[in-house]
Symmetry: C2
Subunit: 209 residues, 2 copies
Amino acid sequence: MMRRFVIIGQKATASDDFLLEDVPGTGGRLDVLLRCVRAALLFSHGLRRDVVVYLVLLGGPRAPRVLRLDAAAVKFVRPDERSLAMLARKALANGPEARAGEFVETRPGISVMNGGLGDAIADLGAVTRYVLDEGATDIRELAELGRNDAVFFLGDHLGFDGATRAQLTTIGARPVGVGPMSLHTEDVIAIVSNEIDRREALSPSVRSL
Amino acid sequence: MMRRFVIIGQKATASDDFLLEDVPGTGGRLDVLLRCVRAALLFSHGLRRDVVVYLVLLGGPRAPRVLRLDAAAVKFVRPDERSLAMLARKALANGPEARAGEFVETRPGISVMNGGLGDAIADLGAVTRYVLDEGATDIRELAELGRNDAVFFLGDHLGFDGATRAQLTTIGARPVGVGPMSLHTEDVIAIVSNEIDRREALSPSVRSL
């Protein structure tokens, strides 16, 4: 089953002018989103080929833009934060002059779009939608998890603002939680991925459909 | 309940001479261990006060050394990898001239020891011991989890070598697994922490004992 993660960076920069020596400060906490890329795309010594990550970048003069990483097509992704920052910087520098709402591939599997959350949602197609929310229904209780393509919307360290929350409600994203603590977004992704891995392992026949 | 994580870096440097611009290459993949520190110690906007992390550093001319971070005493830990690398570099530069096997605090909550895994084990005291191992008993099936102080031993991207594995068997560390995939060590820590969080939330009375 395809898994998609959409992470919304309220202040994360959509420009390439952040410093590798201070990604948190100069990138509007872009570091939070970069660590989510690692958690979503990589396992030990490999890429999760069935995962696509969208970083919705709402900070800086070029915002809003969306950076999309498709594990089925990317050639090589290193897990360390500096390498991920360099990868993001290159993609944002080469960013498209294309029409708003249209992804342009800047290198294999990595695309940039001038647009915001609504445009990212339009790119997702018909998939089951979940929004990670503290105190919501436990992901372990979702009977259907792992049986259908799914997208998970996650906030950064600031959570969701009111407009984003309303937008996710409008598209019918179902609130799900991962336990009693308020966790870093990348840890939430690790826990969601683990739950889906377990479901797929229990239903190998479903996986191969 | 106290939680301790011991991460063994087979090539991770015990010296301070690695470059912030290339921690993976010059630090013997110290980046893997630094990311584990974040996963173990931090939750959203806070420190997990009941956690202690041990990094067993077996690479470079000053090896073996152990870096210990005690969340109950550390003042401030940033989640980004570069900040964690700077923190480790300072601690390893100021490292002790003390007797082997003795932790010396270099700043609040952060200690360095000249010694290896055996010395780290001696520092743990009487706690339930687990070793993370692919294909072992699922952590979700451990009835006692969250009821006692526990330590979890984890390998880096290289796993455990034969001597380490034998040492962990000798001390009775019980093999546990976290699902069907081979995951990054930091993701394993996130999943273990989540499982314990859930147990403690279900048994608040146990927590307060």
